[in-house]
């Protein structure tokens, strides 16, 4: 049975934990709004790039490009994006669970972790990794995405990998982040299939596209860009997801710390009251015995 003093000590320790959680939540909220802005600002570019690629590949059906070459997937590379830090609820474990499930599908797998949590996870399991990207920092720059992209593109062109997938956390909203798998390589050109009206306009404008210098050259230029941007998009979405997941986790932690404090305070007061009553009874009993 804990004494009043024990309970008081416990309340104090929970309170200081609660303060830390609160502070972390505030930080995550600030970072999240920044990351969210970045994601939203990057979407128009991604959409345009997607559309342009769709139209170029329409016009350049028979073009050969190493990044379009479909091979039998004997060795498949997974680029796994997680956070560098924990304390963000199920964020990292969701990604890693999905990864574990995904890699069972293929006979040969290569892993490229991005973020400390993924690296440590693979290292702990003694799964070999081909490259590691750690500590990308708060502000993800396109150059960092390019570094990763150039690595996998080179491996792909050298036919070391037969396919490359990206696993990241898609930022749906503050409440919802979805672990997502996308195919990076070979590039699957997006099809123009967004509604009938769009398709009609497509058919009209598709008629005569000028390519300068040529469709092959434009494609050669466009494909790496497209992959780079997919990686970049993955990185910033994952950042935004991480911060919102952490914010939610810390919000929950603050709340349950509050509940715990209330419960223990009640218990402590009850115990204190009980002690006073006991003491009073003692005194009254002692006085009664004297008479």
């Amino acid at each position: 049975m804990p004494s009043v003093r024990d309970l008081r000590r416990k309340i104090k320790s929970v309170k200081s934990t609660q303060k830390i959680c609160k502070a972390m939540k505030a930080v995550a909220t600030a970072k999240m709004s920044k990351a969210q802005e970045q994601v939203l600002a990057a979407r128009p570019y991604a959409r345009q790039l997607h559309e342009v690629l769709g139209r170029v590949s329409e016009g350049a059906r028979n073009v050969k490009n190493p990044l379009l070459a479909v091979r039998d997937p004997k060795k498949v590379c997974y680029v796994v994006i997680t956070a560098d830090r924990g304390l963000c609820g199920g964020f990292n474990s969701n990604i890693l669970r999905l990864t574990t499930r995904e890699i069972e599908k293929w006979p040969g797998v290569a892993l490229v972790p991005v973020g400390r949590k993924a690296r440590n996870f693979f290292r702990f399991r003694e799964w070999k990794t081909d490259a590691e990207y750690i500590g990308l920092g708060e502000n993800v720059k396109p150059e960092q995405a390019n570094e990763i992209t150039n690595f996998v593109i080179k491996k792909y062109v050298d036919e070391e990998y037969d396919a490359v997938y990206l696993i990241y956390s898609k930022f749906k909203s503050v409440m919802v982040q979805v672990p997502t798998v996308v195919k990076l390589l070979p590039v699957e050109p997006p099809q123009a299939e967004e509604g009938a009206e769009e398709a009609k306009a497509e058919a009209k404008s598709k008629a005569a596209y000028l390519f300068e210098p040529s469709a092959e050259d434009v494609l050669e230029f466009l494909l790496p860009k497209y992959v780079q941007n997919s990686v970049f998009q993955g990185l910033i979405e994952s950042k935004a997801s991480e911060h919102s997941a952490r914010m939610m986790a810390m919000d929950n932690a603050t709340k349950s710390a509050g509940e715990l404090i209330d419960r223990v305070t009640l218990q402590m007061n009850r115990l204190r009251q009980e002690n006073i009553t006991k003491e009073l009874l003692d005194i009254v009993g002692g006085a009664a015995a004297l008479e």
């Binding site: 570019y45 139209r55 404008s205 210098p213």
Partner: protein, 135 residues
């Protein structure tokens, strides 16, 4: 008389830099400079680092663009750039320094330099300076 206009947007991975109805756009394509007036035929081309000039309501403005693409379709011009800046945002000193650095690197002819990268850096710096001057 109302001029015919076309919709121009300049988009970078970071943000949408420009979006407005304009009269005329010129840019530096991989095969040379090109100008686009409304009702241009559909076109896709790569862009070299350079200055994009825009005419709107008789006034000219320019943007420094660090490589990318230009697409024309249905009188809409879309420039997908790696980076784009309006002249008032360009740090002339930084661009000067970058230019000098790139020139030195090219001149040194050391074996360990990345010639392509140095050249690209030089072109980007020149584009920035160009745009800043034409303010």
């Amino acid at each position: 008389m109302a001029e015919k206009t076309q919709m121009l947007s300049i988009v970078t991975p970071q943000r949408v830099v420009y979006g407005d109805e304009v009269r005329f756009v010129s840019a530096r394509g991989v095969d040379g400079d090109l100008g686009v007036l409304p009702e241009h035929t559909p076109l896709i081309t790569g862009l070299k680092p350079g200055v994009v000039r825009i005419q709107k309501d008789g006034k000219w403005s320019s943007y420094a663009v660090a490589g990318g693409f230009l697409e024309v379709r249905d009188s809409r011009v879309v420039i997908l750039a790696n980076a784009a800046e309006s002249p008032d945002l360009i740090d002339v000193k930084r661009a000067e320094a970058a230019k000098q650095r790139a020139e030195e690197r090219l001149a040194s002819k050391a074996a360990d330099i990345d010639l392509m990268r140095a050249k690209a850096a030089l072109m980007r710096a020149l584009a920035r300076l160009d745009a800043a001057q034409s303010k």
